[in-house]
Amino acid sequence: MKLEDFSIFELSYLLKKRQIRAVEIVERYLSIIEEKNSKLNAFISVNERALEEAKRVDESISRGEAIPPYAGIPIAVKDNINIKGMETTCASEILKGYIATYDATAVRKLREKGFIFIGKTNMDEFAMGSSTEFSSFGPSRNPHDPERVAGGSSGGSAVAVASGMAQAALGSDTGGSIRLPASFCGVYGLKPTYGRVSRYGLVAYASSLDQIGPIARNVEDIAILLSVISGWDENDSTTSTMPVSDFFEYIFENRDRETYRIALPEEYWGEGLSIEVRKVLEEFLGFLKMNLFKIEKVSLPHTKYAIPSYYIIAMAEASSNLGRFDGVRYGRRVEGRTFREMIENTRGEFFGEEVKRRVLLGTFVLSAGYYEDYYLKAQKARTLIINDFKNIFREYDFVLAPTSPTLPFRIGEKIDDPLKMYLSDIYTVSPNLAGLPALNIPVGFSNGLPVGIQLIGNYFSENRMLKFAYFVEKEYSG
């Protein structure tokens, strides 16, 4: 068994039993990065102090000192989440050189439990994209076929996990940015309920949609990471005060067989779904039926309006959030004759094409005379989309939908057609609009490329979702 086949829990156990050293774990991951990163482009930066930190863990163990539960386990972090003392670029030219002066709350919590940050991962610039091709560092490549995209925007995190360059990773998900790359790379990726995880220290894209979440090779690791990063935070007023359970303990202790009621919304299983993906997913549905789960077709009638509503809202919020990049406080600057001209030049020069498009269009939909036609309508449609889900969850435990309509597409295939790229998110944006948790579960391959199914749960039902995923992992995938 290779080191990267172990779970976080197993590695921590071996470390405490002195059967493995933290330095060995970190060295192993660094050597995989050394071997694979130049080809797959998962990392923007690697933490030069990781090995030193591992040495300190080993010293503590050899002195018999108490160590935090997950000491020495290497985690990768998307490059829009702050780690104190490391560069945060958001894969943008405008932020290059910015050194974070504080830890994001999710990062601080991981640090307190002993995790080591192995590096910062590649992404679409400011998380705006579905393929990681809109990165100023070049695209990440799919480990299953390097000519194909990794999905986005957390592509680097998914690639790092899928190719064994990190034990697990953090991503962020605004409209599918954790789930889509997880599906394309064949790993688990969870967007938690809105408000479950603090966004403090995450560079904001669309604040009412953004959530930080874990990407991992197994359900146990997702459960551990979610337990660590969840919870109320005084620095993010949108975090929930709901108590956080120990998800790992929950899935470990509740292994009884439940009979789930599962809804399949017809709008997600219609003609837009490719034959290759459908075949793999239907095989999986057959497995669920064999287990006597109640699976029924339902309708989420406003699904058609999810993509336009999502992009209007996300772009509007982005146009406001990205106002802070003005060449004054961080990153880079292009001079101008006046203060105003300096700002316009800086943003014109250093924002990438897709970022400019979204900020410009977001500004338009919020501008006087157009606000009612676009932004307000989108927020009303959002109400209807939320109500659709609320109706379904009165009678069902979960909604199952494809994560992506197609297999991972070729690099360059959609880059010149933004609208085509936006439609990659067709199955993933609704949970963000509704604030619901959603998890990509890898369920098979087609032509050597991974296929994932998307499990959507009711608010704060991550424990039950992970229990279901754990069952699938053991009985179907494993």
């Binding site: 146009s319 880079r332 101008g336 004759r337 316009e344 410009l360 338009f364 927020q379």
Partner: protein, 92 residues
């Protein structure tokens, strides 16, 4: 407003300087995407209340206290600074 005037107006509001090539490209994109957004007009939305957050939110306040954040490191991130100040072009 003419198409090109509208694009320049949005450029100003967004504080983003585009090249004329970019203006051309953006206006084509803009037309196509706005057209796509118009699908929302199909819906009867008169009585529907808009939401601005998926879950009900209320304003939360906390005690306002100073935290030390190493001003030198913060200012060092700025493209131009002098002592512990951000430096910008003359505004008046």
């Amino acid at each position: 407003m003419k198409k090109v005037e509208l694009v320049r107006y949005i450029e100003k509001l967004s504080a983003i300087k585009l090249t004329s090539d970019e203006e051309e490209k953006f206006s084509r994109y803009f037309e196509r995407v706005i057209d796509y957004f118009k699908v929302l007009n199909e819906m009867e939305l008169g009585e529907v209340e808009p939401v601005f957050s998926a879950l009900p939110m209320k304003n939360v306040t906390r005690e306002d206290r100073a935290v030390s954040r190493d001003p030198e490191k913060i200012v060092k991130n700025a493209p131009k600074s002098e002592e512990n100040y951000f430096k910008v072009p003359k505004t008046i």
